[in-house]
């Protein structure tokens, strides 16, 4: 039976179960709005490692191992690991996976990586190619900053539209059977490039991609926004979120009632991050912490989780190119 629906979506016939999640965050995230939803908060951004990149690797390894422990499984039970991060050549992920010893597929979806991983993990499970998979993603503020922007000690003034890359990692165990919320549907995003060129304004650049994926999800699955208790995008920040609402308003659909962006949920206003959080870990730590717990407590029953990624490189913006973006959606029901 073909599970494809419409142009871009999939309805799973035996919806895979999210049996456990784990996350780890840096000190600044730990002081933010969602402190109680994190499994571990680091005291500093190196955590005893000799570099930020190594710290990010360790965070991902810790998140994967902790998610497996919480699932009462062992690493040997995991059939596939699907993971990625923001650094060149997926540096953090590849080094983190050295100690895991399980079949691995590396993903680069920028900040949409966790949603992309969950989507692919679900297809592997629903297609009976395995019983247990892990999707994971990580980012590290300082490591990302020095790759994409300025050295961290450089005295620069960030524009108000800029977002703050989250230090953290999240891992999700997706199983064929078990207790927990189920991934019932997914929508694969396509690249949307609205022509914005400012690498400081990634949330606004990603907004059309997020709106496009949401639009197709509703169309393909024959659903309306109010089918879901909440719709969460990954890291559009306050400006990107407002733009998504505007894009839907232009089509005559009101999204503002049950829509939030993970990037607006992590930091407090007084943390001076400007337009919100970004990075793979933005959606990863909010989903694995806050959203998953609310689903387990049955405070949320149906959610749509949309990972959003800005797929530019340091070379592309120096060559004055615009920013291609993507968004992937997974529907999760308890």
């Amino acid at each position: 039976m073909n599970k494809k629906r419409g142009q871009q979506s999939i309805i799973f016939s035996s919806p895979p179960v999210i049996t456990s999640t784990a996350n780890i965050v840096g000190p600044m995230e730990g002081e933010g709005q969602l402190t109680e939803f994190y499994d571990k908060i680091l005291e500093d951004t190196l955590d005893g490692n000799s570099s930020w990149e190594k710290c990010e690797s360790k965070m991902m390894e810790w998140a994967i191992n902790t998610a497996v422990n919480k699932d009462n499984s062992v690493l040997g039970d995991i059939d596939y690991v699907l993971a990625g991060d923001l650094l060149n050549q997926l540096m953090s992920t590849h080094f983190a996976l050295r100690g895991i010893g399980r079949p691995f597929l590396g993903l680069y979806g920028a900040c949409s990586t966790l949603a992309e991983g969950m989507l692919l993990a679900s297809t592997l499970i629903d297609g009976s190619f395995g019983n247990k998979t892990i999707a994971a993603a990580s980012s590290h503020h300082d490591a990302a900053e020095r790759q994409y922007r300025f050295p961290t000690e450089q005295g620069v003034q960030r524009p108000m539209v800029a977002q703050w890359t989250v230090t953290g990692s999240g891992a999700v165990v997706i199983s064929a059977t078990g207790n927990g919320p189920r991934i019932t549907a997914a929508t694969v995003g396509k690249i949307v490039d609205i022509g914005l060129k400012d690498p400081n304004a990634m949330g606004p650049a990603m907004a059309p991609a997020a709106a496009d994926t949401l639009w197709h999800h509703f169309e393909d699955c024959g659903r309306r926004p109010d089918y879901y208790d909440m719709i969460y995008t990954g890291d559009l920040g306050s400006v990107g979120k407002a733009l998504v609402i505007e894009l839907f308003k232009a089509k005559g659909v009101d999204l503002s009632a049950n829509y939030e962006d993970c990037g607006c949920m992590i930091f407090k206003d007084n943390q001076d991050v400007h337009a919100g959080a970004s990075g793979c870990a933005s959606s990863a730590i909010v989903f694995t912490g806050y959203i998953y717990r609310l689903l387990m407590q049955q405070k949320l029953h149906r959610i749509l989780f949309v990972g959003t990624g800005s797929l530019h490189s340091t070379t592309s913006y120096q060559q004055k190119d615009s920013i291609p973006c993507i968004a992937h959606a997974v529907a999760i029901e308890m």
Binding site: F150, E153, Q154, G155, I194, G195, A201, P204, V239, E246
Partner: protein
């Protein structure tokens, strides 16, 4: 929603919406910060010049040790992780004086130490200051040439 190739009109429409929703830069606050911090750095420079003159340097000679002291202080506070906090608020106020130039050399030097002394510090130290030097020196040569022609 965006199924066909995005048209110029769609791009412009979105750009317009974005400009509307974009948070405004707090210009007054930024300018005040830049004015006060930039002014204080210059005032510190003046104190230093006066101090070196009192030690017996001529006014012209005193500018050398003054610059050296300011550069040292900037490098020192960059190392302590304080200068970037200042720059975050003061913007051009702490970038334009010589202390900002020192910060832009020390910051990458610190950051890329992990990649070693040659490919890290050596190669990356001038990653931000380099362009300033290239165009600064080129302009100086050009102006010098014009000056020479006039004589």
């Amino acid at each position: 929603m965006f199924d066909k190739k995005i048209s110029q009109a769609e791009q412009e429409q979105f750009q317009k919406k974005y400009e509307q929703l974009k948070p405004k830069t707090p210009i007054l606050k930024n300018v005040l910060w830049a004015f006060v911090v930039g002014g204080l750095i210059c005032m510190l420079g003046q104190f230093l010049i006066n101090y070196y003159i009192s030690l017996g340097f001529s006014k012209k000679e005193a500018s050398g040790p003054t610059s050296v002291t300011l550069i040292f202080l900037s490098a020192f506070f960059t190392g302590l992780g304080i200068y970037d906090e200042l720059g975050r608020r003061a913007g051009a106020g702490s970038i334009v004086p010589i202390t900002g130039f020192a910060n832009s050399i020390v910051a990458p030097a610190m950051e890329f130490k992990r990649e070693g002394y040659v490919f890290g510090i050596g190669a990356k130290m001038f990653v931000i200051a380099g362009p300033v030097l290239v165009y600064g020196i080129s302009t100086a040569i050009l102006i010098g040439f014009i000056y020479w022609l006039r004589l």
